[in-house]
Symmetry: C2
Subunit: 164 residues, 2 copies
């Protein structure tokens, strides 16, 4: 199956008054994410599900993708919060869903978690080798059999500026 | 510095009459490569040098990039031929050129060599984990100090269909 790891758009800075989990997309972040979403739609992408970190900036990013009709299914996924554990996500979330070989799922989350997850899926370990910009995308194909760690292939990694 | 590893465009099949090294881009391959080149130009890319494998299909790809004014400098590089050795390329070609930190070089070559080189630069070894389509691009940033193997970062991997 295909996994699209998408980082949330540009968000407010955290302050003494705004908790990290409440940070919202800025106006610029919203507009850029909308452009990215429209481009993904124009490229013919369509997701069986968009799973998002419960943090506001990720949820808002996911909602933009939903409103661009990239998927009709949206789900909060606590494993996608910062420091979420990929082993737990695979065992308790991905495997039980029994996706078909042709399924296509988008995961909306944070850095460095998303690029670390990508490296673990592709390489088996994380070395901070992938640069994933805000509203950027990593495209990964999983193998047909388990285990998936260290056995996936990457077919896409793009910052917004090379996409829109 | 930045390295852009670009695979040649769609080429003729090898036959008993056409040797592998003489395979030319097909009409479709030329047109698609021209579209990719124009998009790279529109994205603001500019290369200090385009180094190409000596094989005809790679040279033709490089010439399209030159004619799109992505660089004024073209050089044949035997290390970029299929099965070229990356250790030799770094030691005998890259290091002697003493590029600045802001240099930007495109390498036109073949699969699986290019994605293997990328993996060696990023992770230290090749595992066939990166899918690089014809006329596709991998963007890599090298560290400021040697050694570079296993210490580069990837910021871009795109097939033509997500670019043009």
């Amino acid at each position: 199956m295909e996994l699209y790891l998408i980082r949330h758009g540009i968000a407010q800075e955290a302050t003494s008054e705004i908790r990290d989990e409440d940070r919202r997309l800025t106006e610029q972040g919203r507009k850029k994410t909308q452009k990215v979403a429209r481009r993904l739609k124009d490229l013919g992408l369509s997701f069986d599900l968009i799973a998002t970190s419960p943090l506001v900036r990720a949820q808002q990013t996911a909602e933009i993708l939903i409103s661009t009709e990239l998927s009709s299914q949206l789900e909060q996924c606590s494993y996608l919060a910062p420091n979420g554990n990929i082993e737990d996500w695979v065992e308790k979330w991905l495997i039980p869903k029994q996706y078909s070989k042709t399924a296509c799922v988008a995961l909306i989350g944070h850095q460095p978690c998303l690029s670390n997850w990508a490296e673990i899926l592709i390489w088996g370990e994380a070395k901070d080798s992938l640069v994933l910009k805000k509203a950027g995308t990593i495209g990964i194909e999983t193998p047909e059999t388990l285990p998936i760690f260290g056995r996936c292939q990457m077919f896409w990694l793009t910052p917004p500026r090379y996409l829109i």
